[in-house]
Symmetry: C2
Subunit: 108 residues, 2 copies
């Protein structure tokens, strides 16, 4: 990815974009997180999801400790260029820190 | 939905939560928007997606002008209780203001 594309992204006032991670094989939305410019560049470089941890205020290479890496198959930007949609392959099928497949396990 | 559940949502410092709208029939992620407490309560009441327009600073009943209503079939909350996932039926199959099915039409 050229840096030209990175400049196209409309980062918010904190320099972040919302990111949705959807699993390729099931089409399930597994999680939601944030990226800054470095995180998105690193994601493209590695082919693995790297987010920005707002609580820890640092890059977060998803799965670096747990092994639950997200291989990135496709990256899309929405019409306003301020939201990213990742199509991923979830290693071990576990995206959530609770050990579940998806973070969206609570249904009203 | 009881107001108890509304109190469970971890609204951000602006009183908002990110919302992902996924189409039931295709599993496609169609759009991303925001809700405040009133928007979520109204969404449940109507069974149709009502967002908070950050640009216009008012409730936005999706499709009220275009007719492209989103019927809400299911509402999920993520593990941190700060992101909402809607399963919707998209009237006319058009979610994007550009006339497209999904807002995520730009692929890197």
């Amino acid at each position: 990815m050229s840096s030209k594309w990175l400049n196209k992204v409309r980062w918010d006032e904190c320099g972040l974009v919302p990111v949705i991670a959807q699993e390729a094989s099931t089409n399930k939305v597994l999680m939601f997180a944030w990226m800054n410019r470095d995180a998105l560049a690193k994601t493209v470089e590695l082919g693995e999801a790297v987010y920005w941890s707002r609580s820890r205020k640092k890059l977060w290479h998803k799965g670096e400790e747990s092994g639950h890496i997200q291989k990135v198959l496709e990256i899309r930007l929405d019409c306003d260029e301020d939201v990213v949609l990742l199509t991923i392959e979830q290693v071990d099928g576990i995206a959530c820190h609770t050990g579940r497949h998806s973070c969206f396990f609570s249904k009203i």
